[in-house]
């Protein structure tokens, strides 16, 4: 039955596509010279970005055609467009993918525009450096970002708990607080979400031991024992009742609204700092951020570029594309709209301009990054090509431990060996 329907729908789509081509024949003419812009986002980001696009069109009289997708669909869309040689001119890019796209000649080097179309004299040099691949600039950072533990301040205040200075606390301190308060928490609420499946949390763990997820050569950068210790820690948290049972935790498929914090089942949650506003929108209680406790002697966290603006190698009018990028990064009016939704900008004058007008929650992000900035280790090398697959494989690996299906060490070993195999297959 479905076949009939899909065929019928297909006919509909075909018809629509045909009529759309007929219509767009004229539209394409009118849009000649339009700069195509693509980004991944959320409703809030889409609203702000579209407002900036409108502003740009009124100010300059040029046209922009925007496209937006959710993170999960975005990379499929982009890869398909790259395969069809029809990448949009200006592309929101992630640190995970920028090397891959740049080295496969999909992105344009921006160096020739810096100083002319791209006015970056005021921009933080460290942030700019994060967009450099093999000596050339392929992306301009849209803002800085770091990982964090976000916590429900209202609940902790109600219990009279004050957290110690998070720049120096350890996982032991953190667990001790959890054990202290776990019986006083409301029914169905746990001390923290379980972070066993979270690759960035694993990264802070191994960095704290002086290692990293990957070496600069693109090999696994940590040892099997580190992974075993990581799994043991989160299994202990689950067994102690500090994190929810496996089946409750597994209902979180990675969407913010399904997180333990948003569903009122956890006091602590993992979060990237630029997501604080979005998370606060989902929670009635007041929330705040602290640094992730370290499990070893080294600083596990680092400042990372939240996202880049990159230009496609196939962009028809590269100067026009560069102008649009410049508008997003340096125009004061545009940044009055964007604020810090994409991370805290590296442009000093913009930052000074927008800070007083920020909400209390947004101010927390700025303050947090000020603290983090002095207690971080350097940006890790970019992940190798098949890192995305390994990231996804961590979920079933951890869950098989959490559900008690397999022996913890066997699961860790399996994941570790599969990771090596994935990298070899890349």
């Amino acid at each position: 039955m479905t076949t009939t329907y899909s065929r019928r729908q297909f006919g509909g789509i075909l018809g629509a596509a045909l009529s759309a081509t007929a219509l767009s024949g004229t539209a394409a003419f009118a849009q000649a010279g339009a700069v195509r812009l693509i980004w991944w986002g959320n409703p809030e980001r889409d609203k702000r970005t579209n407002a900036v696009v409108d502003l740009y069109q009124t100010k300059t009289g040029s046209t922009v055609s925007p496209e937006t997708y959710a993170w999960g669909d975005y990379w499929q869309k982009l890869a398909t467009q790259a395969a069809g040689k029809s990448l949009p001119d200006v592309i929101q890019m992630d640190y995970r993918y920028i090397f891959e796209y740049a080295r496969r000649n999909q992105l344009a080097a921006l160096d020739e525009f810096i100083g002319s179309e791209l006015e970056l004299a005021d921009y933080d040099a460290n942030q700019l450096a994060s967009g450099v691949v093999d000596g050339k600039t392929y992306g301009i950072s849209m803002g800085a970002n770091s990982m964090s533990h976000v916590y429900n301040k209202t609940v902790l205040d109600g219990l009279g708990v004050t957290l110690p200075d998070s720049t120096s606390w350890t996982t032991d301190d953190w667990v001790a607080i959890g054990k202290d308060i776990k019986d006083k928490l409301p029914d169905g609420m746990y001390f923290s979400e379980n972070m066993g499946i979270l690759e960035p949390r694993l990264q802070t763990w191994v960095r704290s031991a002086g290692k990293d997820l990957y070496t600069p050569e693109g090999k696994i950068g940590y040892d099997l024992e580190d992974l075993v210790a990581y799994f043991e820690f989160w299994k202990m948290m689950q067994d102690e009742g500090l994190t929810p049972p496996a089946d409750v935790q597994a209902q979180d498929s990675g969407k913010m609204e399904e997180s333990m914090m948003a569903t009122k089942q956890g006091v602590f949650n993992f979060l990237h700092s630029n997501q604080l506003v979005a998370m606060q929108n989902l929670v009635e209680d007041e929330i705040d951020m602290v640094m992730i406790p370290n499990s070893g002697p080294n600083a596990g966290q680092y400042m990372k570029p939240s996202m880049f603006l990159s230009m496609s190698e196939t962009a028809a009018d590269k100067a026009a594309a560069a102008q649009l990028m410049n508008f997003f990064i340096t125009d004061p009016d545009a940044n009055d709209i964007l604020l810090i939704e994409r991370g805290v900008t590296g442009d000093a004058s913009i930052r000074e301009r927008i800070t007083p007008g920020l909400t209390e929650t947004e101010q927390k992000i700025i303050n947090y990054l000020d603290i983090v900035g002095t207690h971080v280790s350097p940006l890790p090398p970019p992940p190798p090509a098949n890192a995305g697959e390994i990231d996804r494989a961590l979920r079933p690996a951890w869950e098989s431990v959490a559900f008690g299906q397999v022996d913890l060490e066997a699961a860790a070993k399996d994941f570790y060996e599969n990771s090596i195999r994935s990298l070899e297959r890349a």
């Binding site: 499929q76 089946d247 498929s253 399904e258 995305g388 979920r395 559900f403 299906q405």
Partner: protein, 286 residues
């Protein structure tokens, strides 16, 4: 001439991509760079090295072997009930058909996630009736696939409609004659209904098996696109999709698609080969 629109569609939208995917299945293709010929490498990996593929096959076979017979049984039972009651039959028919229209949609899969969640409807009823607290069914590796099978069975509407049409074709005088000879209801069902309905059952069986092999939407939504927990709902089609669009191995995914085609073809061939032993057509032996 009048076939032209159809032919363009067939060659441009069906045959072309099909042949392209056959070619791609022998290449290494990551979408960003041009495909590179790799011979039988993809097939070799699929047959001898891919452990997740084995799991995906086992999940898919479990799903097909449970959901298809159960769905057909429910469909046949309800069709027989509806075949008897005359009053309001159109209303019931429409009502029972409704889940099939909705079932493949994203909205129902989202709803399913809620119903079988930790705080979902099923657990609330369970708590009211027995006082037990149920697990989060959709998020537990032991039960997640079962909830998807239940979802599939619930969409019994289209085979039911086809059964109903089939039942209407069975001559009533056969039943009358059988009743006069004192045959019980069960005997009538076995000796009259089932044999005469066999072609319809056969059609539904083949059709639903193919559909079940291709199941995608429900698992994609219910598991949040990951086939979890612990790969327990990693359907073949879901794994294929992940390889193609998340891991950017379009060449390997094409090989997987061709293997799926072969598997479905084998199952269909088995169904056809055995059909001569149990499917009777009325015009046979004339």
């Amino acid at each position: 001439m009048f076939l032209l629109p159809w032919l363009i569609g067939f060659f441009g939208l069906t045959l072309g991509p099909t042949l392209a995917s056959l070619y791609l299945s022998f290449t290494d293709y990551d979408l960003l760079t041009s495909p590179r010929w790799s011979g039988l490498e993809n097939y070799e990996y699929a047959f001898f090295h891919d452990r997740r593929l084995g799991n995906a096959l086992s999940v898919t076979f479990t799903y097909v072997l449970w959901s298809v017979p159960l769905k057909l049984t429910v469909a046949l039972l309800l069709a027989m009930v509806l075949d008897r009651s005359v009053r309001g039959v159109a209303f019931y028919r429409a009502t029972f058909y409704l889940p099939s229209l909705l079932g493949a949609s994203v909205a129902i899969a989202v709803l399913w996630r809620q119903i079988f969640g930790a705080q979902g409807l099923v657990n609330q009823m369970l708590f009211l009736l027995t006082g037990m607290k149920g697990p989060a069914w959709v998020a537990h590796p032991d039960y997640a696939l079962t909830t998807l099978i239940v979802l599939a069975i619930w969409q019994f509407g289209s085979p039911m409609i086809i059964f109903l049409a089939g039942l209407r074709q069975v001559p009533q005088d056969l039943y009358e004659a059988a009743s006069m000879d004192g045959a019980s209801g069960w005997r009538q069902f076995r000796k009259i209904t089932l044999p005469l309905l066999a072609p319809v059952i056969f059609f539904n069986l083949v059709f639903q098996t193919i559909e079940a092999f291709k199941a995608f939407t429900q698992a994609y939504i219910v598991s949040g696109g990951q086939g979890g927990p612990v790969d327990s709902t990693l359907f073949y089609s879901l794994y294929l999709y992940e390889e193609a669009f998340a891991n950017f191995r379009m060449g390997y995914a094409s090989a997987l698609a061709w293997l799926l085609l072969v598997i479905i073809a084998i199952f269909t061939a088995i169904a056809f080969a055995t059909s001569k032993y149990w499917v009777y057509y009325e015009d046979e032996g004339r």
